[in-house]
C-alpha cells in the first residue's frame, strides 16, 4: 500500500496499522485496510482471529494500542480513535453485536426509536412540556422507523417486548435498530450466526438491499462462506490478529494461505476430496 493516505471520494474508512493487545495477548496486529463507499466489505477468519476486536476498535469500545483510523463520512476525515463511543455513533457509524445487545424490557418499536437517538434534537425542557416540535420530531422518527420495519418485515412484532422474541427475530431487530440510525457505515457482527437457511437467505437479500437501495456501506464479520461470496464486494481474511489475504471473495477463498488457516495445508485439502465414483476426474 502506498504510504500516502489516498483521499479520494470513494474512501469511507481507512484503517492503518491497527494493533491492540490485551495483557500480553496481541489480539490485533498491524492491520490495515480501506473500505470504499457503497461496498460490502467482509472480514473473515477463524475464531479468535481478532475480527470482532477490530469492530470494537472502530466503534470505540477499545482504544487501539497503535495505529490510526480515519473516517470520511462527511468530507473532512475524522480520527475515530479520538472519539468516545457515543460520538462515533454520531458520525454515522452504526453496529450490531455478535451476542445481541437489545433492550430487553422495551418493545421492538422502542428499540428502533432508540436507534434513532443520534438524530434527536429537542432540548430537555421542550421534552418535559412535550411541545409541538417534540411531537413533530416523534412523528418523523416513527415514519422513518416504519420504513425500516417494512423493509425487514417486522410489522408483526412491532409492540412485542424483546424479551419474549425468538433468536432469529432478535437478530433482525438488531439489524433494524442499526438501520434506524440512518448510518453511512453499518458494522454487522456475524449477521447470520444462529440463523437457519431461509433466514440467512433473507439476510443476504437485506444486505444487498441495504447496499443498493439505501446506499449504506457495510462492513461485516461473517463465517458463512456462501453468504460472504454472495454479498461481498471485497473480503479481508484475518488469522491470529493479522492480515492473511484481501481481495475479491473468489481471490481470497482460493488463496492458499487462507485455505491453510481454515482447513490445514493445501495438500491436506486434496487428500480430503473423495474419489469420484464414476471415474471421471
Amino acid at each position: 500500500m502506498s504510504g500516502r493516505a489516498d483521499i479520494d471520494d470513494t474512501l469511507l474508512l481507512q484503517a492503518r496499522n491497527l494493533s491492540l493487545s490485551f495483557g500480553g495477548v496481541l489480539a490485533v496486529n498491524d492491520v490495515s485496510f480501506d473500505v470504499r463507499r457503497g461496498e460490502v466489505f467482509t472480514l473473515i477468519g477463524p475464531n479468535g482471529a481478532g475480527k470482532t476486536t477490530v469492530f470494537n476498535i472502530i466503534s470505540g469500545i477499545y482504544p487501539p494500542s497503535k495505529g490510526t483510523l480515519r473516517y470520511y463520512g462527511s468530507g473532512q476525515g475524522v480520527s475515530l480513535t479520538d472519539l468516545a463511543p457515543h460520538d462515533i455513533a454520531a458520525t454515522g457509524i452504526a453496529r450490531t453485536f455478535q451476542n445481541i445487545e437489545l433492550f430487553e424490557h422495551a418493545s421492538v418499536l422502542q428499540n428502533l426509536l432508540i436507534g434513532r437517538h443520534r438524530h434527536q434534537k429537542s432540548g430537555f425542557w421542550q421534552q418535559v412540556f412535550f411541545t409541538k416540535t417534540v411531537r413533530e420530531a416523534e412523528i418523523t422518527a416513527r415514519r422513518h422507523v416504519e420504513s425500516v420495519i417494512e423493509l425487514l418485515d417486522l410489522q408483526h412484532y412491532r409492540d412485542t417486548m424483546v424479551a419474549g422474541l425468538p433468536y432469529g427475530i432478535r437478530k433482525v431487530v438488531e439489524l433494524a435498530r442499526a438501520l434506524c440510525a440512518e448510518p453511512s457505515l453499518l458494522l454487522l457482527d456475524e449477521p447470520s450466526s444462529g440463523l437457519n437457511v431461509e433466514e440467512t437467505e433473507d439476510m443476504a437479500f437485506w444486505i444487498t438491499d441495504i447496499k443498493e437501495e439505501l446506499g449504506v456501506t457495510v462492513l461485516m464479520v461473517e463465517h458463512d462462506m456462501s453468504l460472504v461470496s454472495r454479498v461481498s464486494d471485497r473480503v479481508f481474511a484475518m488469522s491470529q490478529g493479522q492480515e492473511l489475504a484481501s481481495g475479491t471473495p473468489r481471490e481470497v477463498q482460493t488463496n492458499p494461505a487462507v485455505i491453510e488457516a481454515y482447513l490445514g495445508t493445501a495438500d491436506d485439502v486434496t487428500s480430503l476430496r473423495r474419489p469420484n465414483p464414476l471415474g471421471a476426474a
Binding site: T52, N56, I61, F97, Q98, N99, E101
Partner: protein, 291 residues
C-alpha cells in the same frame, strides 16, 4: 501505647465486621447475590446462644456449638424457601428480598415477649478476663475474636481454593446453567453456602455478644460489613477479613482523634474513596464484558 491499644480494639471490632463480610462474600462468590440479611442472622445467632444458655441451661461451648448447628440449618432452610426461587432474577430484586428477610428476622425477634426487647449479657467463660502482653492490656474477648476469625477465615480460604466444592461453587456463581450441565448439584451447593454463611454470622454474633451484649438492634452492625466487603473486594475471602480490619481500625482511630460523628461515617468515607480509586477492592478480580 495508646495507639496500639486503639489498634487492638479496632482490630477486634474489625474482625467482627470481617466475619460478617466473610459470610457476605461467601454468598456473593457462590451465587453472585448480595445479601442484607447477614447482620440480622448474626443477631439471631447471638439470641440463639443466649436462649440456649439461659432457657436451656447449656454451658457456653455446648450452647455455641448447638447454636451454630441450628443456624446452619436455618441458613439452608432460608435458601431453600426464599432464595432458590429467586435466583436468576435481577440483582436488585434479590437485594430487596434479603432486606425483607432481615426485617422479618428483626421483627420476629422483637416480638418475643420479654426477651426480644431487652438487652442481655452473654456469659462466655472468658468474659471479663484480661490478658497483658508487652504492656498492652487486652480484653480476653477481643483476643478470642481475633484468634477465631483468623482460624475460620484460613479454613474457608483453603476450602474455596483447593477443594472441588470450592471450585464448583465458583462455577455455579458464574454461569448456573452451564454448571447444571456439568453435573454440579447447584441447588445443594447453594443451600450449603447459605448454611455456611449463617454459621459464620452466628460465630460473629457469639464472639461479639460478650462485648456488646445481645439485643435486637445488633443487626445494624451488619451495615458496616458492606464497607468491609467493598474494601476487600467482593470476591475475596481473605479480602473480606482485611477489609473488616481496615474498617475497624479506621473507626477506632477516627473515634479517638476526630470529632464526634466522624466515627460513624468513617467507614463510608473509606467506601467512597475505595470505589473512586479501586472499585474492585484490594483483592477483587477485574472482569469486563466481551461483546
Amino acid at each position: 501505647m495508646e495507639l496500639l491499644q486503639l489498634l487492638v480494639s479496632g482490630i477486634a471490632q474489625g474482625c467482627v465486621y470481617g466475619l460478617i463480610a466473610l459470610g457476605f462474600v461467601l454468598i456473593y462468590k457462590a451465587t453472585e447475590t448480595v445479601t442484607f440479611a447477614q447482620g440480622d442472622l448474626m443477631m439471631l445467632g447471638a439470641f440463639g446462644g443466649f436462649i440456649a444458655m439461659s432457657a436451656m441451661g447449656l454451658p457456653f461451648w455446648a450452647a455455641a456449638i448447638a447454636t451454630v448447628f441450628v443456624m446452619t440449618l436455618i441458613g439452608i432452610g432460608l435458601e431453600r424457601v426464599v432464595i432458590r426461587p429467586i435466583l436468576g432474577q435481577p440483582a436488585f430484586s434479590i437485594i430487596m428480598l434479603t432486606i425483607g428477610v432481615a426485617y422479618v428476622v428483626r421483627g420476629a425477634i422483637t416480638m418475643i415477649p420479654v426477651i426480644g426487647t431487652e438487652t442481655h449479657p452473654l456469659d462466655a467463660p472468658y468474659a471479663g478476663k484480661v490478658i497483658e502482653i508487652a504492656g498492652l492490656v487486652l480484653a480476653a474477648e477481643q483476643v478470642v475474636v481475633i484468634l477465631v476469625t483468623a482460624a475460620l477465615s484460613g479454613a474457608l480460604t483453603l476450602l474455596f481454593r483447593y477443594s472441588k466444592l470450592g471450585i464448583a461453587m465458583q462455577a455455579s456463581a458464574q454461569n448456573q446453567l452451564a454448571a447444571y450441565y456439568m453435573g454440579i448439584p447447584v441447588r445443594r451447593i447453594n443451600g450449603l453456602i447459605w448454611g455456611l454463611a449463617a454459621a459464620v454470622a452466628t460465630v460473629a454474633g457469639l464472639l461479639i455478644a460478650p462485648i456488646t451484649f445481645v439485643h435486637a438492634n445488633m443487626g445494624f452492625i451488619g451495615l458496616k460489613a458492606f464497607p468491609a466487603a467493598v474494601v476487600g473486594g467482593f470476591t475475596s475471602l481473605p479480602g473480606a477479613i482485611v477489609g473488616g480490619l481496615i474498617i475497624g481500625v479506621t473507626e477506632s482511630i477516627a473515634g479517638f482523634y476526630l470529632e464526634e460523628g466522624f466515627k460513624d461515617i468513617a467507614p463510608y468515607v473509606v467506601v467512597l474513596l475505595m470505589l473512586a480509586v479501586r472499585p474492585n477492592g484490594l483483592f477483587g478480580e477485574r472482569m469486563r464484558k466481551k461483546v
